[in-house]
């Protein structure tokens, strides 16, 4: 019988007194994007798991904030936490997401977060 060993202490060791995502501070290297950058959301394969919503794929947005460093959800979901990325809050005009969004409400927006891998310069 093979029995895998799981280290149940690693996150508590890393994050106690610091919090999460604070505990990943400094691990992602330089941020690729900055506030104001125009970005397009990449349509990477979403096999098995993603937290990059399909409704954003291929859409054009603006970086509203550089928020924190953390493992990407797609990796953290398997406890692979070795390669944190920068996360960004990106704002989209509703009319850029939905072709039928009424012109009357042209100011309406959606804001949501992405790990760096999902963004490319527009």
């Amino acid at each position: 019988m093979s029995k895998s060993q799981h280290d149940r202490t690693h996150h508590a060791k890393k994050a106690t007194g610091k919090g999460d995502p604070q505990c990943f501070k400094g691990e992602a290297g330089p941020a690729k994007f900055k506030v104001g950058d125009r970005v397009r959301i990449r349509d990477l394969p979403d096999i098995f798991y993603t937290r990059c919503q399909v409704y954003t794929r291929g859409a054009l947005g603006t970086v509203a904030a550089v928020v924190y460093e953390s493992p990407a959800a797609e990796d953290e979901a398997w406890d692979n936490t070795d390669k944190p990325e920068w996360f960004y809050s990106v704002k989209f005009q509703q009319k850029d997401l939905w072709p039928d969004y009424p012109d009357l409400y042209a100011n309406d927006t959606v804001e949501t977060e992405f790990s760096e891998r999902w963004l490319e310069k527009a």
């Binding site: 280290d7 508590a12 979403d46 098995f48 798991y49 919503q53 409704y55 953290e76 939905w98």
Partner: protein, 146 residues
């Protein structure tokens, strides 16, 4: 309800659980699956933003004791390092599959996922889980109607 009548009722009911895309042949040939269908079947079930839906009455809900217990169990499992919340969400909101995702109650998914992590990470064998469920059932002399 007797085990046999429950089994017969079950066999009729599962036949009604079909893929939402009504197709004449299950387990189709590969060349029947175009890119759109491939993407649809592989979708992450939780990713529902922007899908059309009808207006419903917005309701509140009184919490069941078992739901609160389940929430505390899931957070304690995170606290004590059995999993992190993202592992939980992946298992609970995507791995369960489309049918259970939309068909089960919200906390029903949390609970099944907690049971599953215990078995997947070998803290408990499936045999132990099955025996424990039987033991709890006997303790409460559960009617099979619910």
């Amino acid at each position: 309800m007797s085990t046999r009548s429950e089994v017969l009722k079950h066999l009729n009911l599962v036949g009604l659980l079909q893929p939402a895309l009504h197709v004449p042949q299950h387990a189709p040939y590969p060349d029947a699956i175009d890119h759109s269908l491939y993407r649809a079947y592989l979708r992450s079930s939780h990713d529902v933003g922007g899908e059309p839906d009808v207006p419903i009455a917005w309701e509140e809900k009184q919490e069941e004791q078992w739901e609160l217990n389940t929430f505390a169990t899931c957070e304690c499992l995170g606290w004590r390092g059995v999993w992190n919340a993202e592992e939980r969400r992946r298992r609970q909101n995507v791995d369960l599959g489309q049918t259970q995702y939309l068909g089960l109650p919200y906390y029903g998914r949390w609970l099944l996922t907690a049971a599953r992590i215990l078995v997947d990470k070998q803290y408990v064998t499936l045999t132990e889980l099955v025996n424990k469920i039987e033991e709890v059932k006997k303790r409460h002399e559960q009617k099979s109607a619910r």
